[in-house]
């Protein structure tokens, strides 16, 4: 009893906080980097003061009375952007799918596999706009340039997702196809494809969604499409038309995302049981 008595009167014993030196150092480093960036950047922060008022004013200019008379042209340019995205996706699929099979462990020779994986990561690191700048020396300022740039960019992402999907399949069906005497193509058709088809299809659709966004951006360097129109009217400072174009971009992107998202969910989860 005498032993327990002091414990009752003492304050609640709170366990000591865990010390996390690594975390503390990480915080210091991150803070230092951010402060250094703010401090060294040559930015007219004074412009930030009247920015909110300016943005409200410009939002008013853009959306108070959008210029719908330019809508037909906007829709035509949107169609060209979607074409860019579509052709870019189809070409990307045609190039990336065979390459991703070769890059998967168990199908291609090791040196080729390493080289392809390196190429995929290089392509992913370079922005699509840079590819477009290189390609336009051959195809000129046409939507085809945009489509080809998106195709090249697509090979980087689709290739990576593809070989990861092929490597993650269950080995049983592949072994069965091999044991039955299947050639490599037959192993791919009957051992790999049935397992990976839904994944591949949903990657393709996802890439199409990415390309729809990217195609609006590619217009900025003049290859046509809605981005081209948007930069022109921004430079003319015709804000009511810019507002209308932004509405078109948002509606089209959201609509395509919604449709493609539904198809992807249907592919991955199967039809509802009736």
């Amino acid at each position: 009893m005498t032993l327990l008595a002091p414990a009752r009167t003492a304050a609640l014993v709170v366990p000591a906080r865990r010390r996390r030196p690594v975390r503390a150092i990480a915080w210091v480093v991150v803070t230092a980097i951010v402060v250094a960036a703010f401090w060294s950047a040559d930015i007219g922060w004074s412009r930030l003061g009247d920015l909110p008022a300016e943005i409200v004013r410009y939002l008013g200019l853009m959306f108070s009375s959008p210029n719908w008379s330019k809508l037909p042209e906007a829709l035509w340019q949107t169609w060209r952007s979607v074409e860019m995205a579509w052709i870019g996706t189809v070409l990307g699929i045609l190039i990336a799918t065979p390459l991703s099979l070769v890059a998967a462990r168990g199908f291609g020779p090791a040196p080729v596999r390493v080289a392809l994986r390196f190429a995929f990561s290089v392509v992913r690191a370079v922005p699509e706009l840079v590819f477009a700048i290189i390609i336009l020396s051959v195809t000129g300022l046409t939507p085809l340039t945009g489509a080809l740039a998106l195709a090249v960019g697509g090979v980087g992402t689709l290739g990576k997702w593809g070989y990861e999907a092929v490597e993650n399949v269950a080995p049983g069906p592949i072994e069965a196809a091999r044991a039955a005497g299947g050639l490599t193509t037959q192993v791919l058709r009957w051992g790999v494809w049935p397992q990976t088809a839904p994944t591949f299809l949903s990657f393709w659709l996802y890439r199409f969604e990415i390309n729809v966004r990217a195609s609006a951006v590619l217009g900025l360097i003049g290859v046509g499409g809605i981005g081209d129109m948007l930069t022109s009217y921004t430079q003319y400072r015709e804000w009511s038309t810019v507002g209308m174009l932004l509405i078109v971009v948002v509606v089209v992107t959201v609509a395509i995302d919604a449709v493609s998202g539904r198809i992807r969910r249907r592919i991955m989860e199967g039809s509802r049981v009736r």
Binding site: I33, V34, A37, F38, S40, A41, D42, I43, G44, W45, R47, L48, L51, E54, I55, Y58, R80, E83, M84, W86, I87, V90, S121, V122, A125, V126, P127, L129, V130, I133, I134, I135, S137, V138, T139, G140, T142, P143, L144, G146, A147, R213, A214, A216, V217, L220, G224, G227, L230, T231, T234, Q235, R237, V242, L246, V249, V250, T253, V254, D257
Partner: protein
């Protein structure tokens, strides 16, 4: 001797073929002249040699150009860091606002999510192009564009994590008499923290990539240089810039990947 009973073929085998036919048809329509992407094989045949010359130029980077790229490259990184920091600071409270367990008021959640869906639908370069016309040329419009882009992504991903988190601790907090803000602060925040840090690092990777091209519309960084170099057709200098972007992106991706793997 009875024949082997073969089960009937599954129905719906026409579906993949129809889908393939539709895709081929759409692709063909899009390649038609006048209506399509402007596939002009004659022009390509005429110009492909020009392209070959460009690629040869690309293979020999002009290393003497390096000193002039350092400043713009640093500005690109500054934009990415500042954009990520400001975007993260704005995203954290908004993520709690957009998630069900941390904001029980349904209509405010719906309003915020609706706004963010619209924000996400506009690419960051389009924001930059419009903002350059509003605020003027420089790094500031680029940073604002990155912030908008980041908030759209981070709030969506983090609020989805909060939505799918275990509600037990939150209920315990409520049972102990905590107000919603106390619960968010002391229970939901530590829970969501690793996801938040990981997504912030992820958008930092995206920002580094995005900020390299923001300059093409006048929003600062190495993109301004890309634009200058391309108007003079200096593909050897462009090639040096590409190499630099590659190195920076690969190094930062590797570092941020390593940190993220430790977090999860």
């Amino acid at each position: 001797m009875t024949a082997l009973t073969v089960p009937p073929r599954p129905k719906g085998r026409w579906m993949p073929w129809t889908a393939a036919a539709v895709i081929v048809a759409v692709t063909v329509v899009m390649c038609l002249p006048g209506f399509g992407v402007g596939l002009d094989i004659a022009a390509i045949a005429r110009n492909w040699q020009q392209g070959a010359v460009r690629i040869v130029e690309l293979l020999a980077p002009d290393w003497s150009f390096f000193p002039r790229t350092v400043g713009p490259l640093l500005e690109t990184l500054q934009m990415a860091v500042i954009g990520t920091a400001v975007g993260a600071a704005i995203s954290l409270p908004l993520s709690f606002w957009a998630a069900r367990p941390t904001n029980p008021v349904g209509w405010t959640r719906a309003v915020l999510r609706g706004i963010l869906n619209v924000v996400r639908a506009v690419p960051e370069l389009v924001y930059a192009a419009v903002l350059v016309a509003i605020v003027g040329v420089g790094a500031l419009p680029g940073i604002i564009a990155l912030v908008l882009f980041n908030v759209g992504i981070v709030v969506k991903l983090v609020s989805e994590t909060i939505d799918s988190s275990d509600v037990g601790p939150l209920e315990a907090g409520r049972a102990a008499g905590g107000t919603q803000s106390k619960i968010n602060r002391s229970i939901a925040l530590p829970d969501a923290w690793p996801a938040f840090v990981s997504q912030t690092l992820y958008v930092f990777e995206l920002n580094v990539r995005a900020s390299t091209v923001l300059g093409l519309v006048g929003a600062g960084g190495i993109g301004l240089l890309i634009d200058a170099v391309r108007t003079f057709y200096r593909y050897d200098q462009l090639s040096l810039i590409i190499v630099e972007i590659l190195v920076i992106v690969v190094v930062l991706d590797t570092v941020s990947d390593a940190i993220r793997r430790r977090l999860v």
